[in-house]
Amino acid sequence: MDFISILSIFVLACFVGYYVVWSVTPALHTPLMAVTNAISSVIIVGALIAAAAAEVPGAKWLGLAAIVLASINIFGGFAVTARMLKMYRKKER
């Protein structure tokens, strides 16, 4: 992919983000932050690539360390979001 296609995806995704986030109800802003935390750890993709390649040991270990950190975030972020969202309930009538 050339730089312009990537930039296009990025710019359009910023607009999508803008409209989607404005539609998030303020009551769920804390879960929003927790879940954005979890998904920004998609950076684990880079960590996996680094850890998968064996030819440079330093890079491999950095990759593995990044996998640990990103995994804390992914599992922790989604789990704590799920825990919070479970608590939101409607009035029982």
């Binding site: 990025f10 998030v24 690539i49 990103a70």
Partner: protein, 493 residues
């Protein structure tokens, strides 16, 4: 998920030696996970769709991880799985154990991890650019480590990604320490800090530019070190009251760090996610600033709350009315409509469960109870809503500032618990007040105001006196918030 067979390594071009060769199936898989992340945020538009949204997010992440593992030659699968298990275990246990009042700290800590992960990935890409497919094959390798110079464009992306990641890391660590109480909430002001910050920032940008033609280790590591330093310098002058903005801002940074790495890796999932998270954090920062009537720049410049006057010295003591739990219970019982305004003090006192009990008692007696939440109540956006949800307050009883503010005129009681600045009428009338222009609740329109406060001494974060204390219809309930509410509950029996 699509049939995994199509991702089998033998069907694909060897990604390891040409990472940017696009296999359409791989690209589609990453696109799918990006779209699932969009749906995850979209689900949060309403509590009823939010849980499904969270599951979309998990599926999206699973697709991204599995796709990456299946399309790369993996020399060390056991180590990778162990690393995921260690991290996942830690994350899961923390998520289950953390108290809801500690969510701001947790989110700050998580931000720091994203930032650090970005730095580590950037460093790995610098040490092993071949694995990331960012080697400039056309260039001569005179100056690069190991004889593999990094593509010009990738070098810029890498430099920026590492810098943003490092700022996110050290900034979030400071935010965590402040929110967790390991470090005082008071801003720490260095002399000439604006000059130092701008200088450091310029140095980082200059070095990122220089990195494109000199990729020696010192350039790379100096970028990282300076970025760690500026993250630290940026957050120490910002006071506790501005933490909601800081946490949102760091949220945004963690997104931009992921996006920068996505550019380096040409990975759509990372770019889409980075853009989503980046704009999410930016919008939340904007909402918080607007709710305080402060400009983003003035928050970033820091120092707010530094000159707070300690407990009303040299100020005349104005007369106020103090009441007991029994007085409050008596009036609450008679009321038709009660609006409760919780603030950070409620979280500190852990009074939310007692509060819900009180509301239940009142509802059983036919009183209409509503909760009013200011956008900056608490230490992060939406913090009060989570605490009330934890105490099993139904979300359809909880209202935002603009939706409920007109109802105070019909309310018999405005019940203020742990909030202060968000009900201060000085924001509407006193142009000299530091909180002038901040949207506040019109509690003065309610027939009766109850104000739970530990003592008359303390003032809000903004350090200003509050006329609500001294109004004719105000009754001060001076005690620990939890204790006071529990006493009211007892008196309601």
């Amino acid at each position: 998920m699509a049939a995994p067979a199509v991702y089998a390594p033998e069907n694909l071009p060897a990604i390891t030696d040409a990472a940017h060769a696009v296999n359409p199936w791989v690209a589609l898989a990453y696109l799918a996970s990006g779209v699932l992340f969009i749906l995850a945020l979209r689900g949060l538009s309403h509590p009823s769709t939010s849980r499904a949204g969270n599951r979309y997010g998990m599926i999206g992440m699973a697709i991204a991880v599995v796709t990456t593992l299946l399309t790369h030659e993996i020399a060390s699968l056991p180590e990778i799985l162990i690393a995921i298990a260690i991290g996942g275990g830690i994350g899961f246990v923390i998520a289950q154990r953390i108290a809801m009042t500690a969510m701001p700290q947790l989110v700050a800590a998580f931000h720091s991890l994203v930032g650090m992960a970005a730095v580590l990935v950037g460093a790995a890409a610098y040490l092993n650019p071949e694995a990331f497919g960012i080697v400039d094959t056309a260039s001569d390798a005179a100056y690069a480590p190991g004889g593999t110079p990094i593509l010009l464009q990738s070098a810029i992306e890498l430099g920026l990604g590492v810098a943003i990641g490092a700022i996110t890391f050290s900034g979030s660590v400071i935010a965590f320490l402040k929110l967790n109480g390991n470090m005082g909430g008071k801003p720490i002001l260095l002399p000439a800090r604006h000059l130092i910050n701008l200088g450091t920032l310029a140095a980082i940008l200059g070095l990122v530019g220089y990195f494109t033609f000199d990729q020696s280790p010192w350039v790379f590591w100096t970028i990282a070190a300076l970025a760690f330093l500026i993250g630290f310098l940026l957050i120490i002058p910002i006071g506790g009251a501005d933490m909601p903005v800081v946490v949102s801002m760091l949220n945004s940074y963690s997104g931009w760090a992921a996006a920068a790495m996505g550019f380096t890796l040409h990975n759509t999932a990372m770019i889409i996610t980075g853009a989503l998270v980046g704009s999410s954090g930016a919008i939340l920062s904007y909402i918080m600033c607007r709710a305080m009537n402060r400009s983003f720049l003035s928050v970033i410049a820091g120092g707010f709350g530094a000159e707070a006057i300690p407990g009303g010295e040299a100020k005349e003591q104005r007369p106020f009315k103090q009441g007991s739990a029994e007085d409050a219970a008596f009036i609450l019982e008679q009321a038709e409509k009660v609006i409760i305004i919780p603030g950070y003090g409620m979280a500190v006192a852990q009074a939310q469960h007692a509060l819900r009990e009180m509301a239940d008692k009142l509802k059983a007696k036919g009183v209409e109870v509503k909760y009013a939440i200011h956008p900056v109540a608490g230490r992060m956006p939406g913090h009060m809503n989570v605490l009330l949800a934890e105490a099993q307050v139904p979300y359809d009883e909880v209202f935002e500032l603009e939706d409920i503010n007109s109802e105070f005129a019909q309310a018999d009681v405005a019940f203020i618990i742990g909030a202060n600045d968000v009900v201060n009428p000085a924001a509407k009338t006193d142009k000299a007040s530091p909180i002038y222009g901040m949207p506040v609740f019109d509690v003065d329109k309610a027939k009766q105001v109850f104000f739970i406060k530990r003592s008359m001494g303390g003032v809000g974060y903004a350090g200003v006196d509050n006329d609500v204390f001294y109004m004719e219809q105000t009754m001060m309930l001076l005690a620990d918030a939890k204790k006071m509410v529990e006493d009211i509950v007892k008196a309601l029996d």
